[in-house]
Point group: C2
DNA sequence: TATTGTTATACTCTATAACTATA
DNA sequence: TATAGTTATAGAGTATAACAATA
């Protein structure tokens, strides 16, 4: 994707320059993943937002929680879930605790489709298998440190 | 995002298990990046596809090349470029070599907006600054190996 | 009063197919 | 004959605002 191609940055240290390259490589990887995701969703006749919803439904979720995960307005989730429901992939369930809330849950068919989607994009992409066992260990540890919650968050 | 949460895989080796965790961490990172991208695009009144087009226009590109990078049909690019052009962010330029081709290029205003977008999402996200210089070097080298073209591609 | 989910609206994205101009 | 870009069309995503039901 060459997202960084024309960024004229002036690194103040070598570490900063290396970090910039590492992040540029991440962006390249994001581009690959995005295309893989779009292609896989299309093969199952799912729009990207629908595929994203299925992936986030490992367990039942209130509508507003799904909206938050999809980074879109709640009003959109109504339509997305409507269409998934029309295809028999999800069902709405009234919450007994809070009668304002509806939980969205996968049907058996929805769970099967989600599994097939995960086979396609949940597994590591081409290139991953070239990494050594040592590489994988280092990578995992570095990503863990990067994603560790910074105490107050 | 917990994309891997309910994947019941049976790792045949420890390396495979570590690799699976590393990839799951990648997916978490993708989710963070996607949300950051959507929020940044919205702040500049750009739809995601428009923001993606701007980011890919570091240099002038034929319409069909842009379609390929955005992983969408050429007919969509016509509309996306129409709207960016109406806002004075890009311009179409006929190619002198092949008169079927139109190159899309940023205007000065488009270049400024692209720069501001890159300040927001082209720079490393929260968490990156917690990595040591050694981490960054290892990460860069591993990602390089992962993204290296496998001879015939 | 605040929150949850829905509806109405307007605009954009998306794929498909058909079309023109060019190669 | 194939390719580049456009147009027309239909269906879906998106944000905003207004609404009813519930907390």
């Amino acid at each position: 994707m060459r997202l960084m191609a024309s960024v004229t940055s002036v690194p103040t240290s070598q570490a900063e320059s290396i970090g910039a390259e590492a992040w540029a490589l991440f962006l390249t990887l994001f581009g690959h993943h995005r295309r893989r995701f779009l292609i896989a969703a299309g093969e199952f006749d799912l729009h990207p937002a629908q595929a994203g919803a299925l992936l986030n439904l490992a367990e039942p979720l209130p509508m507003h929680a799904l909206a938050s995960l999809l980074a879109c307005d709640s009003s959109n989730v109504t339509g997305i879930v409507d269409r998934l429901e029309a295809r028999g992939l999800v069902a709405r369930q009234l919450s007994p605790e809070d009668r304002r809330v509806k939980h969205v849950m996968l049907t058996p068919a929805g769970r099967r489709l989600r599994g097939r989607l995960l086979e396609r994009i949940g597994s590591p992409p081409e290139g991953f298998e070239r990494l050594s066992a040592e590489d994988l260990g280092q990578l995992r540890d570095i990503l863990r440190r990067m994603l560790a919650e910074p105490a107050g968050s």
